[in-house]
């Protein structure tokens, strides 16, 4: 029987690697009985969705610009390194 700690680790790892069949069964058995870990799993899913939303928000935020000063810095650096 896995502990909540072990289950939380497996849920996190399931985002990074395919779990073994044994792990998947252990996880299922635990989740059926444990509301806390079921909520944890949902939280991890929401976190995944949210970080992608945050990325897209930054990518499409027209108030974020490369300042003229930054453009000048980059342009100068590139010119100096080319010589």
């Amino acid at each position: 029987m896995l502990t909540c700690k072990q289950v939380s680790q497996l849920i996190s790892q399931s985002l990074d690697r395919p779990l073994t069949l044994t792990n998947r069964i252990q996880l299922k058995v635990h989740l059926v009985m444990c509301d806390a870990c079921t909520r944890f799993k949902k939280q991890m899913q929401l976190l995944q969705v949210a970080v992608h939303r945050l990325r897209r928000q930054t990518e499409s935020d027209s108030s974020i610009i490369l300042s003229e000063a930054a453009k000048t810095r980059i342009s100068h650096t590139v010119a100096s390194k080319q010589q």
Binding site: C4, S12, L54, R55, D61, I65, A70, K71, I74, V78
Partner: protein, 184 residues
């Protein structure tokens, strides 16, 4: 010979936002754009089959990873995880029998546009509060969706270390969101 100022004027904002969305640091994002321009000028292999923006973005993706590798490798692993007994450091979340000390709560799913915006503000702040090495690997894995094996190679860490770091990053974000986001 391409004019770098044309590139910067036409694509600079786009590239900067792309980098900032992944590095979450204005200076690093500017560096990434600069490195991209340097590489673009040097190789100028752009033949016009793809758009200049697509080509530059392709270079930028690699430059972002270069910066992450350089920065994250400088930070000692032992600052963020206990390398010898890799899961003892997480024990503040669990008691000795492996039960939750604070049980995860039911999160209110952000429903409308305003709630979603507020949620993302909290998330961005929580990301900033994480130790830089943890937020860095988290961005590589969960935002840039780089394969775990490649991350391990780039950062020169073992698979187990990567799992532990990602676990700690996600646990830290979860805890922070739970403290600062409204529960149902």
């Amino acid at each position: 010979m391409h004019n770098i100022n044309d590139w910067l004027n036409e694509h600079g904002d786009y590239l900067y936002r792309f980098a900032l969305a992944r590095l979450r640091d204005p200076h690093q994002a500017e560096d990434a754009v600069q490195e991209t321009m340097l590489a673009a000028i040097k190789h100028h292999s752009f033949e016009g089959e793809s758009s200049a923006r697509t080509w530059l973005t392709g270079i930028l993706k690699h430059k972002i990873i270069d910066l992450q590798r350089k920065r994250l490798r400088e930070m000692p692993l032992s600052d963020v995880i206990d390398v010898d007994a890799s899961d003892t450091a997480i024990d503040d979340f669990f008691d000795q029998r492996g039960h939750w000390v604070d049980k995860p709560q039911q999160w209110q799913t952000p429903e409308n546009a305003l709630e979603q915006k507020q949620f993302l503000v909290v998330l961005a702040e929580c990301l900033e509060r994480l130790p830089a090495k943890l937020s860095g690997i988290f961005m590589m894995r969960d935002v840039q969706e780089i394969d775990n094996e490649i991350i391990c190679k780039e950062l020169d860490i073992t698979t187990t270390n990567a799992w532990v770091m990602l676990y700690r990053a996600r646990m830290g974000l979860r805890k922070c969101l739970e403290m600062h986001w409204i529960m149902e």
